[in-house]
Every structure is written in C-alpha cells, then in structure tokens.
C-alpha cells in the first residue's frame, strides 16, 4: 500500500481525540448531506443514490530549487506528449522500474555512469534517450512531499475549518463549505510561504473508483489508459478531473473564481493549476494541483500566499451529463456570441475567397501557378501540401465564381489526381525539419476513394476520369469506402455492407470517427448512427474543445497600444525566416466584451491555447440539430459565430480582435505576427466556413432548408462540401445552393444569408445572430437576379409560413426576430448564374471511357484526361510521371479536331499541361516530347481523348 494511504490512516487515527467536536449534526442543502465522522472524514450523500467518504487530506510539495518544467513530448508511451515533465527530480532507478512494472508498462529504464537514462520500450517500439528520458512525470517526486491531515477541526455554520500543524517552510489552512441551495461542496485552501521556494498543493482526499470506466478528458491520456501524469491549465479543456465506475461520478472541479478570465491567454508558464488522475492499487482518484510546481505561480517569496478553491462534485449519471453540468452550471457556458465584432460569416467567406484568389494582385496567399497550389510557407517553403481540392471547389460552385474555378479549383483538382502524395516537393528543399517524407511521386491521386466519388459528383457524373480513378482503388475498405462505392455503383448491397460495418462500431462508445457515423446516419437515416456520432462528438469536445475560463460580464481592453500582441510562435519563425524581431501589427486599441475573444469553443491540441481551425463546429452543430442537443449547439456556435472577418491564421497565444479585421491576412508575411499563418490553410478554412453557414441555416430552419454535402473523408480537416447536389427549401425540392457574394447587399452585419435557385424561383433565407429583433434592408443586384415588382412570393418567419405576398422588387425591407429566420421564395426571378449555368446546363458535354488514356513512353508513363465542369469548361490535362533526375524539359504538341497544331513548353517539374478545349470541335490529340538528362529527345505515342 502506498505511503499516501498509510499516512491518511495514521492521521485519521490521531484525529480520534477530537471526536467530540466532530459528532455534529449533518450539513445539508437541496442536493448534498455532509456528516462529519468521528475519525475526521466526511460522509457525503447525494439522495439515496450515492454516498462517499471525503478525507481532509492535502499534500504540499516543497522544492528549494527551480524544478525545471517542460512538456513530456517524446516519452508519449508513458504519458501524453502535452503532460508535464520536471527535469530536476527523478525517481531512483529501481523504484522507477518497479513502479513501471506495477503500472503495466513494458519498458526497462537503465542509467549510465553519468546518470543519463535510457527508456527501452522493446524491439520495434521506442528507445528513448535525451531530455525526455530524464526527470520525472510524477508530481509527488518534485521536491519534498509533505502530507497534511488537520490537527484541529472546527465547524462554523455551513463551513468545516481545518487547521494544520505549521511547517517551518509554509503555513497551510483549508475549509469545506456547503452552500445553500443546490451548490456543490467548496474546498478552499491557502498556502503561505514562510521561506522562499517553489510550492505546490493538492487536495488528495477525494474518494476513488476501482478500475473505473473511461471518462474522456485531457488528463486521461492515450485511450484513457495513462495515469499519474499532470496536464497544465494551458492544455486543459474544462478544469475538472472525473472518475466514474459507470454509476457514480466523482469530480474535482476548479472553482472559476480561482482561475479568472485574464487579459492574456494562459500559456505554459502562467498555468495556474494542473490536473491528474492518480492510479494506485487499481483505484482511480482525481487530483488537482495548485499552484502548479514549476509554473510561475509556484515560485513564492517568504510571506507570499496562494489561495485556491475547488468544488467536489458527486453525480449519479452518465459522464456527458456531468460534463454539461460543469460547463453550463459552474462555468456558465451559454450562447453569448453574435456578429457585433466580426460581421457576418457570409461576408467573411467572400473575403477569404478574395484572399485565395489574389483579387488585390499582391498574392499574399502565395499561390504558385506552376505547382497548382499555395506554398507551404510556415512549415516548409517550396513544398505543397493541400488537404483536398474539394474545399476550394465547393467555394467556386457555391459562390458561382468561374474565375475561381479556372484559376484555383481546377488546378487543385489536377494536383489531386496526379500527385501520389499531398506532401509534394518538386524542388530541392532547404529542409526545415518540419515535414516528414515529402515526395515527388506522380501517377495516381492522393485523395482517397470517397473524395474521388465526391469529385465525380461535383462534375455532375459527366467526367469519367474520377469514376475510373475511384474504381482503381476498389475493393472498398471501411465504412466510408463502402458508402462511396454505393454512391458510385448505385448498388444497395454496398450500403448494407456500410451499415453492417457501422454497426460493429456501435458496440462501444469509443473508437471510430464521429464523422463516419454522422455520414452513415445521413445516408441511412438510422438514428443509432446519430447516437454514435453524438457520443463521439462529446468525447471530441471533452478532450479537444475549450470550455473555460468563465466569461466575465464586462469589457476588457484589447490590442493595447494600438498593436496586435505578437504570437509566441512568431519569434522563432522570424529568426528562421530572416526577418527582424516580430512587431505587433498596427491596429486600434479597443474595449470590447470579454466573450468576443474568449477561447471557449476553440480547440487546443498543441502548445497553443486557441486553435482557429473551424472544421469541427459545423459537424457539432449538425449533430446538435439532428439530436436536438442545445449544449452541442452552444458549443458549436462558440467555435465560429462572430469570430472571423477573414482567414486569420491557424492559432493564437494572445487575445486580440485581429480575427475580426476584414483585411487580417492581406499583408506581407513578415507583418503577420499575430498567428501561425500558413496562407494556404485559408483553403480549408473557406470550406469549413461554408459548411457552418449551410449548417447554421439548416439548424435555424429546423432542417427545412437542407443541402446535401459531399464527403471529405480522408482529409484531417473534414467538413461537408456543398454545391454539387440540389437541396430543398421548405418542402420545395431541386433548389441549387447559390451564394455569389455580389448577389445582394445587407445593411446589417448580424444577418447571415443563403440563396438558391430552382423551379423558376429565387430562394432567400436570412437568419440573425442577434439577441434582439433586427431591421434589415436587402438590395438585390440586378446583374445577378432581376426581381419583378409584384412577383408572387412565399415567405416564412421562424419557419412558419406567412400568407402569400408579392415582391417589392430589388429592394426588401423586413424585420427578423431575435435569433430568428426569415425566408422567401420569389417567383418569376430572372437569375443570372455564371459557373453554375455552365455546370448545370443539360447540353454540357459528357466524358466517357475514351476521355482518359495512359501511354507508355520511353521516358515513362504519360497520362491524359478530359475534365469537364460544364458547357465551355472542358480542359485536357496531360502529365508525365518522369522525374527531374531523368527529364529536364517537355513539350506538348496538340490540336483539337482539325485545328492547327500548337506547342507548349514546360521546363519545370512536373511536366504537365492543361489546355482549354472548345465544345463539339472534335477530339483532342497530343504528343509529348521530352529532353532527357542525357540530352536525348524522346517522344510519347499519340494520345487521343474523346468526349461522348
């Protein structure tokens, strides 16, 4: 038995002398009953369902030296990468190996004569030396451990006060208060340093559970099977540690008053607490450390004090309910966001498009025509790393932007179907060490089967090459492949197989992607899959989404001194990039509500407190809508509503309103010091923003405005891609999503909008992010849609149909209730689509099996294919697999029909050509000739590509 429990037993025995003080009446409120026991412990009951024993046991750690403090990182088989490691203390070798064995780790630690340790996890696994093999992850070894039990206990009303014997180095006092009403017991303590040093304290008297059920949380480690490590505040998502046996939940929750909202985001050094699940003798116990040893607050001068408060929570329910309770009832998470700061997401999407399309001619997004994508600037310049062409393709279609399709989406599609990897390095690189395994391999797509089928759908099933490439990947493997194969083949048996594969995953609450289950639900309507998606999204939130600190009802000053605070990441990067020390981007100091920059709803999965990637919020919202879960809806809205006026980088370490600035990324890269900026990531952002916009309308309309999204399975930032398939608008089918930014102007930034065309009508939906009724004036651009005054229209307010009316023409004025939705279906609208007109034109050419050809040339394979997005949007894409070590230049001689032969030259690898064709002019014929490294000219056989 551990020293810890022996001390408690010994201490409790000594407390017996004060039994007379402790035989007092119980303290109760509407939920809890606390009965002090004769041995000084507290019997706590919740109704008839739960009882537990709380011991007034605390531990203070004292270190005379700075213990050193960094992330565990490479020793991830022991504890999570983000957990803490203290370098100045270590466990004796023999003890360590014994403990590791007891904990079930298959590892042997050895030490050389200089004290340098090696962790050997066995053949084929990991052998670890260096920084992460030294020190300890055990917080009870960092300094001297002083276990405290009270020497005196006094009950004062609803408060039990404990006094402890003084130590020469520190003074400690604690109490427990049960508030009136429904509040949870509050444990308070104060630690005062009598001597300068480093101090940490923990309440260690919480009851545990024997080999408890997995409760997803940051402190539960890999697959919930790593314990006895500490996670700092900066990494935490909700300041609670929870253990559960499936019936009873015991939680320690940090009191919001102890970790108030700060003007600066918390970082590694300023973390005020750490959480841990302690496992001893098979019993799991929640522990919270505050101060956190090694962090700034643990360094105390003589006379300094630290006070801290915790809640002890007992709940007899599933863990998700306990999570919601802590988030909503203790941390006050509720829907607070509106568009007052950033303006509408609808407008932001247009700006991100402009940034990606380089509409101002400055190319701040670093698009590289030659390689058909954006430079992977932040991590490895000269390399190209798209996550899918579908983000931008969706944007091109939904925003009805033909130029964006031609200049950005199509090249990204060509990249996707020709490069075998999305970590593509065509040039000799100056290796930054940030990217592993870049490649130059060509010849097959990097996108997996499901995305090939999505591309096939986007191209309206008229471009054979996507079907062909998808069939090369068969047989399907996994749920998403089976769903893709079902869509490709129309074979219902594949859908049944997909369902069967999904049903296997239903047997546990964990494992499998929530997105897979969501898409399986969307395909089948089977609510079991929705339930599985929901269970997993709760896990995603519990381990990945910030739900604290509590947002104060006040304003704070942002961007002091008229400068955006510099992101921590910028310092090292600027040095690496040859820029001077980063300076804050000029802006305007502002006072604004605290919620505007709260990190609630944002992920943190690395060293940064606030990740700005918005791919999860749309899915959380969709699951919320389908399952009527208001908590999930709140979390989703926190992730994106009122945050962005443009792409503003990947993550942040400081609070700022920069993300609300319309021109946030439109500066030279050396001025973008406020975030980690990989400009090409705006490509993924626009897809996620579109997904949220469509899903928000789906939610607000109670699912009556619905557009089917296509899958991006296989992409790490997985969203739905829209525009390929028609949807429905209040019962009217065949509505094509159509949101060109220049369709209309709205005078109210609280209002989001979405439009569609079909059935001879223009459909418009407006929904408000405001908490009060809003007045709206909409001006429809006649170059996009001409609305006849007096044209019949249908309208809905908050999803209730209103009596039929008539249109007021190009200008519309109306009111929207708080968080309401107002929609219109206007007849006799003359709608002017551009890209969509060509895409959905029934006379658009079809590409059959003769539209793709691969030939064997002396210099390797040459692939040719026709891609057709619609009428007048057919191009031939020809590329060679030859590498620059073999071929130094290529020429394509080509013609269409009986036209004249033309020649194009390419002297930069890959050797590829994209040629626009005319409809109905005839077949495309081409020959590729190359110069080899040996200065030989070699020619491919002729490639002839035909449409149907």
């Amino acid at each position: 038995m551990s020293r810890h429990y022996l001390n408690i037993l010994a201490g409790l025995t000594c407390l017996g002398a004060t039994a007379s003080i402790l035989s007092a009446a119980p303290i109760s409120n509407q939920i809890y009953e606390i009965q002090p026991a004769k041995d000084g412990s507290l019997e706590i009951k919740v109704g008839q369902e739960m009882s537990a024993r709380l011991v007034p046991s605390f531990t203070v750690m004292v270190s005379g030296l700075d213990p050193g403090y960094h992330r565990n990182n490479s020793n991830y088989l022991l504890a999570p990468r983000t957990s803490l490691r203290w370098e100045k203390y270590k466990q004796p070798l023999e003890e360590l190996n014994l403990w590791l064995q007891e904990m079930g780790f298959e590892v042997l630690v050895t030490e050389d004569a200089k004290g340098k340790r090696t962790w050997n996890y066995g053949d084929g696994k990991m052998i670890l030396t260096g920084q992460y093999a030294q020190g300890t992850t055990n917080p009870f070894l960092v300094g001297e451990q002083v276990d405290l039990l009270p020497s005196e206990t006094v009950i004062e009303g609803r408060t039990i006060r404990w006094k402890f014997t003084s130590d020469s180095r520190f003074t400690f006092s604690a109490s427990l208060t049960l508030p009136e009403g429904k509040g949870d017991p509050e444990i308070s303590y104060q630690l005062s340093a009598n001597k300068a040093g480093f101090y940490s304290a923990a309440f260690t008297g919480v009851p545990g559970v024997k080999e408890g059920n997995l409760v997803p949380q940051t402190s539960s480690g890999r697959s919930g099977k790593q314990f006895n490590h500490v996670v700092a505040e900066v990494t935490e998502k909700l300041p609670r540690v929870q253990v559960s046996d499936g019936r009873k939940n015991f939680l320690l929750v940090v009191h919001p008053e102890s970790i108030p909202f700060t003007e600066q985001l918390i970082n590694f050094n300023t973390s005020r607490f750490g959480t841990m699940i302690r496992k001893e003798n098979g019993v799991l116990t929640p522990v919270v450390f505050a101060p956190l040893m090694g962090a700034a607050s643990s360094k105390m001068r003589a006379g300094e004090s630290r006070a801290f408060k915790l809640f002890f929570v007992m709940r007899a329910e599933e863990w998700q309910s306990a999570l919601r309770y802590v988030a909503e009832d203790i941390y006050g998470v509720r829907d607070q966001r509106d568009n007052s700061g950033s303006g509408s997401l609808s407008a932001a999407i247009a700006r991100v498009r402009d940034y990606l399309a380089d509409r101002n001619g400055k190319n701040y997004a670093m698009w590289h025509v030659e390689q058909k994508y954006y430079d992977y600037w932040s991590d490895q310049s000269g390399m190209f790393k798209p996550f899918s062409p579908l983000y931008g393709l969706s944007a091109a279609v939904v925003l009805d932007d033909e130029d964006f399709y031609r200049q950005r989406a199509l090249p990204a599609v060509e990249f996707a179907i020709s490069r075998a990897t999305n970590v593509f390095a065509p040039y000799d690189l100056n290796d930054t060490g940030q990217v592993s395994k870049p490649s130059r391999q060509l010849g097959k797509p990097y996108v997996p089967l499901p995305q090939l089928v999505s591309l096939w759908e986007f191209y309206q099933r008229r471009t054979f090459v996507f079907r062909f490439l998808a069939e090369q990947v068969l047989p399907p493997s996994g749920v998403m492949d089976l769903l893709a194969f079902w869509k490709l083949s129309g074979d219902g048996a594949q859908l049944e197989k997909a369902k069967a594969a999904g049903e296997k995953g239903l047997k546990s609450e964990s494992g499998g992607s929530y997105m897979d289950f969501l898409e399986l639900y969307e395909a089948t309507g089977d609510k079991r899959f929705l339930g599985a998606a929901k269970a997993r999204i709760y896990t995603q939130i519990a381990t990945g989404v910030n739900l604290f600190p509590k947002v104060p009802e006040e304003e704070i000053i942002y961007d002091k001194g008229d400068k955006v605070p510099v992101h921590a990441h910028s310092f090292g990067r600027h040095k690496a990039w040859g820029f001077p020390l980063p300076e804050g981007l000029p802006t305007v100091e502002q006072k604004a509500p605290a919620w505007r920059c709260s990190e609630i709803g944002l992920e943190s999965f690395g060293p940064h407190r606030a990740e700005l990637w918005p791919n999860h919020p749309p899915q959380i919202l969709r699951i919320a809508t389908c399952s009527e879960d208001r908590f999930l809806q709140t979390v989703a809205r926190w992730g994106i509503v009122g945050r962005y006026a443009n792409y503003a980088g990947d993550n942040r370490t400081e609070r700022s309103l920069i993300t609300e600035k319309p021109d946030a990324p439109e500066h030279p890269i050396w001025k973008l010091t406020y975030s980690s900026i990989n400009p090409g990531h705006a490509w993924e952002f626009i897809g996620a923003m579109l997904d949220f916009r469509v899903t928000d309308c789906f939610d607000r309309s109670r699912q009556q405005i619905f557009f089917p999204g296509l899958t991006l399975a296989g992409s790490p930032f997985r969203v739905h891609a829209y525009g390929a398939l028609p949807g429905r608008f209040y019962g009217e089918e065949n509505a094509h999503l159509w949101c060109p930014p220049d369709l209309l102007e709205i005078d109210n930034q609280q209002i989001e909008w979405l439009a569609a065309w079909g059935n001879g009508k223009l459909y418009l939906a407006f929904w408000s992010q405001s908490f009060r009724e809003e007045e709206v004036t909409v001006q429809i651009n006649p170059k996009r849609a001409t609305i006849a005054t007096g044209a019949p229209l249908l309208s809905w307010e908050n999803n209730q149909p209103r009596p039929g009316g008539t249109s007021s023409g190009q200008r519309m004025e109306f009111k929207i209730p708080a968080k309401g939705i107002t929609a219109f279906a206007i007849e006799k609208a003359d709608i002017k689509t551009t890209l969509q007109a060509k895409m959905f034109d029934p006379s658009a050419p079809k590409m059959g099996s003769e539209s793709i050809k691969t030939v064997e040339a002396p210099f390797g394979k040459v692939h040719g294919m026709l891609l057709s997005m619609g009428r007048g949007l057919t191009n031939a894409f020809i590329y060679a697999e030859a590498l620059p070590k073999d071929v130094i230049a290529a020429r394509l001689r080509y013609r269409q029909g009986n036209g004249e032969w033309k020649t194009l030259q390419d002297e930069i690898f890959p050797y590829e050509f994209s040629v626009w064709l005319e409809d109905s002019v005839g077949d495309f014929e081409a020959v590729m000739e190359v110069d080899t490294k040996r200065l030989e000219k070699q020619e491919s056989p002729a490639i002839v590509l035909k449409s149907e």
Partner: protein, 188 residues
C-alpha cells in the same frame, strides 16, 4: 532580367571564354572590390545545402521554381551540364564571373548618377552587388540604390526593403543570410 543575365553569361562562354579563361578570371577574384569572405556569404546565401552536388562532388543542375539552376543558384548555361556538371572550382569561377558582370553593370549605372563605385563604402558595394546578382541591376529602383548609397540602415533593415522572393514566397535562405550579416548595423 534574369533571362538577360543568363544570355550574357552564356554568351561569354559561347564566345570562347573557355575554362582556361574562366580560371584566369578567377585568379582576378581578389581584384574585385569585394572580399573572399563576401563571396563566401553569397555562396551560403544562394545554396548552403549544396543542392545539385552529386556523390562525385560535382555540381549538377537541380530543380527550382525558376527552372533548373546550377552551382550557386545560377542559370544553366549549357544543357550539357546535366551530364557533366561543374567541378567545385568551375562553380566558384562561374559565380565570380557573374559577379564581375554585375559589377560592370553597376559601375555603368552608378556612373550615370555621378557615383563612383570604387569610392563607395565596402558595405554599399557588397549590398549592391548582392542585389544586382539576384534581382538584376536594371531592376534596382533609384530610391533603393539611394538608400544603400547613403547606408540608411533604418530603411535597409526594414523587411519591406530587403526581403527577396523565391518565386511567390520570401526567400528565407537569402533573407536570413542578409539579416544576419547586416542586422547588427541597425543597432549601432
């Protein structure tokens, strides 16, 4: 402009300035108003990773966003170099040869404004040669040259002024080398 430099350099070779002549020129490297140390800086800023260097120690053309380059990021004057490459000495010689061409262009350009290149401070000469080499002398704007001539370090060390691009993104290797070489000047 890069095409013109390529043409000049290639022409120099095609007109019969053979290897022997190139070697002769390299022996005059120390006659350039620049130090061997500066040439070392140019080399490190151009190709510190020695891209294109084969196992035989020779420099072969390697792929860049501008097309194939060889040695210290110079245009490939002869496609035959894909097969035979340059020795280290030839790569050095080609670099010095190109610097001499740049120097000649700079002299002519500055002379029009009544500025004697030889009488400039070493730092001015080096920066002008550096940027003339990478950007082309004709592309250097008058106000840019003036700032360098005056050694206006506040302007020179502003990234808006000195950042060079490799295709569509800043050239971190060159920018870092430049800033590490001159960055302390701004604090003096």
């Amino acid at each position: 402009m890069k095409q013109n430099r390529t043409f000049l350099f290639a022409t120099a070779l095609w007109l019969g300035i053979g290897l022997r002549s190139v070697f002769a020129l390299t022996q005059g490297a120390d006659q350039l108003p620049i130090s061997p140390e500066f040439i070392g800086y140019i080399k490190a800023a151009a190709n510190p990773a020695k891209h294109g260097q084969g196992k035989d120690g020779r420099f072969y053309p390697y792929p860049t966003p501008q097309g194939y380059r060889i040695g210290y990021r110079q245009p490939v004057p002869d496609k035959a170099l894909h097969m035979r490459g340059w020795s280290a000495e030839e790569a050095d010689a080609a670099l010095v040869q190109q610097l001499k061409i740049v120097e000649s262009e700079l002299r002519q350009r500055l002379l029009k404004d009544g500025v004697n290149f030889d009488q400039m401070q070493p730092a001015c000469r080096e920066i002008l040669l550096d940027y003339g080499f990478t950007e082309g002398v004709a592309k250097l704007k008058p106000e840019w040259i003036q700032a360098v001539t005056q050694l206006d370090w506040v302007r020179i060390l502003n990234p808006d002024f000195y950042v060079r691009y490799d295709a569509d993104w800043p050239d971190s290797i060159r920018n870092k080398a430049f800033f590490e070489r001159w960055g302390k000047k701004g604090k003096q």
